[in-house]
Symmetry: C2
Subunit: 304 residues, 2 copies
């Protein structure tokens, strides 16, 4: 057991996965929770997720660790709401996909004697809500912890141990580098997937039904990403604006180069480009970050 | 049994999957094959794929159905190579991802008394070669058959029955509409995925190792698509140039609109857009074209 009492603010996919994984690892004596939505609180109670309270300040009372699991745009408000209930010596953390903006929003509300140590588990699915969580979500995934120079070393060590107990590998990183890395590995890919799915939805000559029927040709991979929570992603883009726009600019530049190669018939450039990108896939599989099974293992494999 | 003898030219993922699925369904009395690569022929012989011949013309002798399973850019050459061996009354088909360009490349080489009826199974994985195939690849996927007004109805019916026997649903479509639909559901998504992976590979501030370690945040889905066969995809883009460039133009337009919304902080536009795209995902799952399991079923699910 790492903490006697933890509290989760926001009871969606990530928080509910933390609960099941913390129970699996016996990491916390007691788990309390709050969600701003009465419906989510009711669902959480019904499935026996944790001790659910009707106010954020009440939920965090006596907690050694409080994790803010709300969309990035709601972090400031959540921090303000819990402030009156925080006990001296408590650690507040979060799971937001953006770090600089969250630090700016949360820090002003953190009382003296409480430390805010941001974190971000790189894990998720396209599903949302208190029923979407499962214990294995963080297994073998990375959690990036973003301490400040003021962070107490023992507090950081406990938070790292907690995430390791949830199944994750832990790295430390500064907020700006985090935001740039995530713009590449997550934010821009999500925006592009949303765009591609939006284009397909718009096209009137290709009916919805055709787009859907024939989606297995590649498109369906995009639709999974583009089915992620709209509020969460709106907030990510608005709060990691600079890095996302920078990587988007780079993406557009490359896309135009490939588009030009198609227009001019430069097969060599295309072939070289497509060969180079294959190597990254191999790296990801070798690093244990994805399955090598064809089609993510979706298709039943077996020769006969 | 639908055909006494079939022949497959090119022994990659699609051809080898046709073999295993045809054996599973007992659709052909005899299966012959040829690949331009001696290495692929040797592999096919080693795994007992089919009767492998050292020339294309020899492989197609006496075959009732010949399927060209080579990259789109090699279709014309393959048709030329098999022409001397084709028996009168034979049907030639293909599996190319583009139809207009393949029809133009193949038709001039088809002898009198032989019919060319193009087809395109919308199925695949990121793996290639004679060992990549498996019997279930086409199960519940769509195969688009593209007959011409001259196509004999009985020949079309046999080809449809063959693909249904392989596990697929069959639709008929004209070549130009096929090429536009595929530009939306397959070609443009592939180009975009290649581009995103290329951008990540280029970025020097974000090291390869970081891109790979933290890929589970969304990026890894793109790398699967961007690991597909480079030659096949080079040919697809060069031969479906017009439709791909048209959809790419549409994509860029939408991407710029979202980019502008990020820059100006228009959260409502982003939220509305991301909500709309969620519905398409539900349509695809309801149509049985993808799994509803989180993360394509990659993650082990289970609350405790």
């Amino acid at each position: 057991m790492i903490y006697n009492r933890i509290a989760l603010i926001g009871l969606g996919l990530i928080a509910s996965s933390i609960v099941w994984a913390a129970k699996r690892g016996a990491l916390a004596g007691e788990i309390r929770g709050f969600d701003a939505s009465p419906e989510a609180r009711e669902t959480a109670r019904r499935i026996g997720l944790c001790d659910v309270f009707d106010s954020a300040a009440e939920a965090v009372e006596g907690a050694d660790l409080v994790i803010l699991c709300v969309p990035v745009g709601a972090m400031g408000q959540a921090a303000e709401a819990i402030a009156p209930g925080l006990k001296p010596g408590a650690v507040v953390s979060d799971v937001g996909s953006v770090k600089r903006a969250v630090i700016e929003a949360v820090t002003p509300h953190i009382p003296k004697g409480v430390q805010f140590i941001p974190a971000h588990p790189l894990a998720g699915t396209e599903h949302s809500g208190p029923e979407a969580g499962f214990a294995a979500l963080f297994d073998n995934r990375w959690c990036l912890v973003v301490p400040s120079p003021e962070s107490d070393a023992a507090n950081v060590a406990d938070l790292r141990a907690f995430w390791e107990g949830l199944g994750a590998h832990v790295d430390e990183m500064d907020a700006d580098h985090h935001d740039l890395v995530l713009a590449v590995t997550s934010h821009t890919p999500h925006l592009i997937a949303y765009t591609m799915v939006g284009v397909a939805d718009d096209l009137r000559r290709v009916t919805d039904s055709e787009v859907i029927k024939y989606s297995a040709a590649g498109f369906r991979d995009f639709t999974r990403i583009a089915a992620s929570d709209p509020t969460m992603w709106r907030d990510v883009f608005l709060s990691n604006k600079d890095a996302t726009l920078e990587i988007l600019g780079r993406f557009t530049e490359e896309l135009f180069a490939l588009q030009r190669a198609i227009r001019t018939g430069d097969g060599q450039l295309l072939h070289d480009y497509f060969t180079r990108t294959r190597a990254i896939r191999r790296g990801i599989i070798d690093a244990g970050q994805d399955t090598s099974a064809p089609d993510f293992g979706r298709a039943p494999v077996g020769r006969k």
